[in-house]
């Protein structure tokens, strides 16, 4: 055996042939949203503004760790918990309270136990699980209709899951508002059993939400579509968690058995902890059990079971009355600061002398504002003013502060006058 050892040691020495397995791998294009942050980091201008990725900033432009989160972390640390694997579906305390938050205390769905809610890797992970679940088990259709426009990552997620991407009219560039008649028209023509993606509140990227009466008409219009709600901003939009979940709850009350993705990245500031949930509203508890078993089969070969830390924090907040109260106040505070910045931006644009109508800046809701800027104007804003945003004219209001809103208004006016 020693001889073999020496033989192999001397016989098999590098280099191998000089070509690589990966010679044919093309350089992937940078992610349009996260790529903005990278470009921002490289900029040396002292006045630079990052209005790209949707992460909340306080009025000093700093990341904001919620007080209820810090308190929850201290509570958790004192408990000296172990680190044993969670169940595939995640932390029970979390999934229960996650569903309760979305559906409300008097939800008939919760009372009859006909939902299954699993913990996911934040909103993306939830959409990934959902898209793959539908692809596998929703045999009636492989079409998913996204609003035009939608969050950029929706498309590759559904495509990767093997679904066909379609679109319905949503944003009206002439009003910077909701194209209600266009949406109704497109929805009425969707083949039955198609999947339709609806943003529950604070539409990303436009900030344009249907009004309650409009939601009602949409819910009534076509009863045979599979509704997929993406709720990434509950509480963050209006400052009121029940108001922001109104559309979700209304559709369920009207008899739609929806599927729902939730994220706690923004409303609890738990971005990097990856806290989310995926819910399927089923006919009854028995069906929910079957669906649950299949969700586990789907999740296991992706990541086995979800990460504990963020879910534990979220569950602690949701289930501890004192912390829950603080959280509601803090979420209200974040939403309020955004609303104030919208008002200040519009006011500053007026005082800059802009003759354009900037009402949409105030009317739109949530973290993002679809300014209406064209790509060339965006490019100028970036090059000449070091204001970083996505090409579609979307800005993250969270990046606006009382300290820089004047500069921003000045820049926007300069490229649009």
């Amino acid at each position: 055996e020693m001889f073999m050892y020496l033989l192999l040691l001397f016989v098999s020495h590098p280099p191998l042939c000089c070509s690589s397995w990966w010679g044919g791998v093309q350089m992937g294009p940078p992610d349009p949203i996260l790529g903005v942050s990278e470009a921002f980091k490289r900029d040396t201008s002292p006045k630079k503004m990052n209005l790209g990725v949707g992460a909340y900033r306080d009025d000093h432009g700093k990341p904001f760790v919620l007080d209820c989160v810090r308190k929850a972390e201290a509570l958790i640390a004192s408990k000296q918990l172990d680190k044993e694997y969670l169940a595939i579906g995640g932390l029970g305390d979390f999934t229960k309270s996650c569903a309760l938050l979305a559906l409300g205390a008097d939800s008939e769905v919760l009372k009859s136990g006909r939902n299954i809610t699993v913990q996911t890797i934040s909103g993306t992970g939830s959409l990934c699980v959902g898209a793959n679940f539908l692809s596998r088990f929703h045999s009636a259709s492989c079409d998913v209709y996204l609003p035009k426009p939608s969050w950029g990552n929706h498309t590759p997620i559904f495509r990767d899951a093997g679904m066909q991407l379609k679109a319905y009219r949503y944003y009206d560039p002439s009003t910077c508002g909701f194209d209600f008649s266009g949406a109704l028209d497109d929805i009425s023509k969707m083949p039955e059993k198609s999947v339709i993606m609806l943003h529950a509140c604070a539409h990303n990227p436009t900030g344009v939400d249907p009004k309650p009466e409009q939601w009602k008409e949409i819910a009534d219009l076509k009863r045979d579509l599979l509704v997929f709600f993406d709720m990434a901003y509950q509480g963050f939009a209006s400052g009121d968690i029940d108001r922001d979940a109104w559309a979700v709850r209304h559709f369920i009350e009207q008899g739609h058995n929806i599927v729902l993705s939730q994220s706690f990245a923004k409303n609890m500031g738990l971005y990097g902890e990856r806290v989310g949930g995926f819910t399927v509203v089923c006919n009854d508890a028995e069906e929910a059990k079957r669906v649950e078993s299949q969700l586990k089969i789907l999740i296991r070969p992706i990541y086995s079971n979800p990460p504990m830390n963020g879910a534990r924090i979220a569950a602690t907040i949701l289930n501890t009355p004192d912390l829950y109260k603080i959280w509601l106040e803090e979420v209200h505070g974040m939403a309020n600061r955004i609303i104030k910045m919208r008002e200040q931006l519009a006011a500053n644009l007026k005082s800059e002398g802009s003759t354009h109508n900037w009402q949409h800046v105030i009317d739109q809701i949530g973290m993002f504002c679809f300014t209406g800027l064209k790509p060339e104007q965006v490019e100028r804003l970036t090059k000449e003013f070091s204001v970083y945003m996505t090409k579609d004219g979307r800005i993250s209001m969270a990046g606006v502060t009382s300290g820089n809103v004047g500069y921003l208004a000045h820049g926007i006016h300069a490229v649009t006058k």
Binding site: Y5, L8, S12, H13, P14, L16, S19, S20, W21, W22, V25, M27, G28, D31, L34, A55, P63, E73, A77, D82, K83, E84, Y85, I88, I121, S122, T124, G125, F137, N153, P156, I157, D160, K193, N257, A265, Y271, G272, E273, R274, V280, C282, N283, R290, V291, S293, Q294, K296, I297, L298, R300, P301, I302, Y303, S304, N305, P306, P307, N309, G310
Partner: protein
Amino acid sequence: MSLFGEVPQATPVAVFKLSNDFKEDPNPMKVNLGVGAYRTDEGQPWVLPVVKKVEKIIVADNSLNHEYLPILGLPEFRSSASKIALGEDSPAIQENRVGAVQCLGGTGALKMGAEFLRRWYNGNDNMKTPVYVSAPTWENHNSVFANAGFEDVRPYKYWDAEKRGLDLAGFLGDLETAPKHSIFVLHACAHNPTGTDPTHVEWMQVAEVMKRRKLFVFFDSAYQGFASGCLDKDAWAVRYFVTQGFEMFCAQSFSKNFGLYNERVGNLTIVARDADNVRRVLSQMEKIVRVNWSNPPSQGARLVAITLNTAELFAEWKDNVKTMADRVLLMRASLQAKLQVLGTPGTWDHITQQIGMFSFTGLNPKQVEYMIKERSIYLMASGRINMCGLTTKNIDYVAESIHETVVNVQ
């Protein structure tokens, strides 16, 4: 009529069902030798002392927040994790041809590697490229690759049930006959579920065939440090393959060796020909990450990075790892000795020859059923036991039970 009316009830994942059944068993003598998590001699989960220390450091650091990590993960985690696998002085690292992706545990790392290979390995569509996994292997290997789109996941000969050891001839034979460019999933150390690893010479023979036949090397390294108690020793195979010039993947898990199971800490280490190839590969990995989880969880990665990059903490961690490995070695020796004293029929040397958390006892399904039903000792149908489930308090009961089972049930 529901859209989901036809969704069938799926069979539960075996290892978790076993734990469930164990939980519901009222027998005070019950022992759980199922799922692979470390237990102390009191039968309790063990949060490593170094982990507790670092958690306090993190809590006290007000400069830390919960912002998104980059898509590929925490940079200082990725580089230090790869160093652990490849070695501080790895030529590949010095030559700048190593990349890494922080993933959701070992499973996530396998998933990312599988998804990448299906898209980019050996031409653009690898649905038909054979993926070989050992017979037997961790059952989730099959699902990970199948769900990533590989249609042809096959076994390679590995475990010789008769001699209770490695079927080297069978293994090498399958390597020789595998279609060129096939992908092979290799267990870096502490093979799950058999606990049987190739020797150094055997690994060299495997490498020789794989190089000659242009087979792809995909290491699964879930037990580094946990097997022998020594990080470098447990990484020998991975590092040998690097010296042989392979481009390869290594899926790393920090679930066991850091005891961070539920924080989902994993790393996919990529060794390529040169830096340019690494760069392009990572750019495509980002696309795959983005549609699965966007960016990975920060807590566990921070913990590991701080530990690996701080000298005293690193030393303390290695010590904690040795503590776990030593207890397992002690239980192995103890069990084997007791079975010999009892005169249990058969040979039991494999208990001490096997390495890591698991042991393939050789008990057949009927015997396993007997152990569970009559003795409330829970183990996998394959006869796999988790050595960590053994303690000085229950080892006599387990040894006697194995003895009684082997004698009464054929």
